[in-house]
């Protein structure tokens, strides 16, 4: 989990680690299952060392192992504000797949159409999972919105695969 995400999820109020995890689970729905709790605590420790988080020990829950309450320091608040204002977008690695097709065809390593079929199969499996998960979420929930994003991206990738199929079919029959 990215450090800034963890930091921003704590911006609402000082929280225990388990409260932070519950907030992430709510926002991510079924995708939150993939979240690694240990990783989150490692991130919290790093953020503390970097001076972006301050840790208090709460007296009221002294019997719990999870006694730490995490709060943003002024530096932490500053970092969250910068992160919110940042424009970033994950780049899907289309070039790698594209070059795989080009190289496979040029060297006769494999039929590009077979590679396209295999890739499509995998993406359709994911689309099936994402659609099912989306239908199981309540309308307009945080998790449903995230899953809709996944469905739309997969559709875009599948449309590109269709274009790949068309072009490589044409090249094969043309040569």
């Amino acid at each position: 989990m990215q450090q800034e995400v963890v930091l921003a999820m704590l911006a609402k109020e000082p929280s225990h680690g388990y409260q932070l995890r519950a907030r992430l689970r709510d926002a991510l729905g079924p995708l939150g299952d993939a979240m690694n709790a240990g990783q989150i605590y490692v991130t919290l420790t790093r953020l503390e060392k970097a001076g972006l988080l301050a840790v208090e020990r709460s007296a009221e829950s002294a019997d719990r192992s999870d006694r730490k309450v995490y709060a943003l320091t002024p530096n932490g608040q500053q970092r969250v504000s910068e992160w919110i204002a940042e424009v970033s977008w994950p780049r899907p690695d289309l070039a790698e797949f594209h070059l795989k097709l080009v190289a496979a065809a040029a060297a006769g390593l494999a039929d590009p159409l077979t590679i396209v079929d295999t890739q499509r199969r995998e993406l359709l499996r994911r689309l099936r999972d994402a659609q099912r998960a989306a239908m199981a979420e309540p309308d307009r929930s945080d998790a449903a919105l995230l899953l809709e994003g996944i469905v739309l991206r997969l559709q875009a990738d599948l449309r590109w695969l269709e274009a790949c199929e068309k072009t490589w079919t044409h090249r094969r029959s043309g040569s």
């Binding site: 995708l31 199969r121 993406l123 359709l124 499996r125 994911r126 659609q131 099912r132 996944i150 068309k166």
Partner: protein, 248 residues
């Protein structure tokens, strides 16, 4: 096959359809073998002109093959007479088309009950069944509407209800979302998911990956033949995490 339960609902062997002759010969369907089990949803994808619609027509007896066999529940349909074939189409197969093909002068419920009436059910039984089906597709309040007063998605849901009228062994759908926008596609998609859940056997020919993704099995078709076949079931939501940057 050891018993009836193992028998595929739909079976094709060496299925072929050719048009024209000599240099103009087109092999639209070129040696297709297919077994569809009871309760299975199978999607067939492929570029335009790959023969997938023609194949669907052969499977449902809308068109005669140039060669090969088609059986429904163990009964050959490729070599039976016109009348027997017409009866089979009315009672054993349900069709869903891209352009809906509803009767424009009939209301939604009249469209849905028509196949039951043609199959010889009493008007009362046909009406009751049509009411159930419209409820199943969420259109009870549109029962008395003409198709022209319905949205594309609603029309396709009426068409699906009509296809189910005679409790067909198999529903064959040809680009069922080809004329629909994204929201209407979602309605039809949910309907197919629920049909699938209720054990209806479905064969869907489609361009639309969202519809294809509802299938248990996906077949890719090119130049009249199957080139790839795969099970789609069995994935995990865990893998989806990577798509949204949740896995490092």
């Amino acid at each position: 096959m050891s018993n009836a339960a193992d028998m595929p609902v739909l079976r094709a062997r060496g299925l072929r359809k050719e048009y024209g002759k000599g240099l103009g010969l087109v092999r639209a369907v070129d040696g297709v073998d297919l077994d569809i089990g009871a309760g299975e949803t199978v999607a067939v994808m492929g570029p335009s002109g790959c023969g997938k619609s023609t194949m669907l027509h052969l499977l449902g007896g809308l068109d005669r093959p140039s060669g090969g066999e088609v059986s429904l529940n163990g009964r050959r349909i490729d070599d039976i007479g016109e009348r027997a074939l017409a009866r089979m189409r009315r009672t054993v197969v349900g069709f869903v088309f891209q352009a809906f093909h509803l009767m424009e002068e009939l209301t939604a419920i009249e469209n849905v009950e028509l196949p039951a009436l043609l199959a010889g059910r009493s008007p009362r039984a046909a009406r009751r069944r049509a009411e159930e089906l419209l409820e199943q597709v969420g259109l009870t309040d549109r029962a008395r509407f003409l198709p022209s007063a319905l949205s594309g998605g609603q029309r396709q849901r009426v068409a699906v209800a009509r296809a189910l009228s005679n409790e067909p062994l198999v529903v064959l759908a040809d680009e069922p979302t080809g004329n629909l926008d994204s929201a209407a596609t979602l309605d039809v998609l949910q309907l197919f998911e629920s049909l699938h859940g209720s054990g209806q056997t479905l064969v869907i020919v489609t361009h639309d990956p969202r519809i294809a993704a509802t299938a248990d099995r996906l077949i890719s078709m090119r130049d009249g033949a199957f080139v790839d076949e795969t099970r789609l079931s069995g994935g995990t939501t865990g893998q989806l995490g990577a798509l949204v940057g949740l896995e490092d």
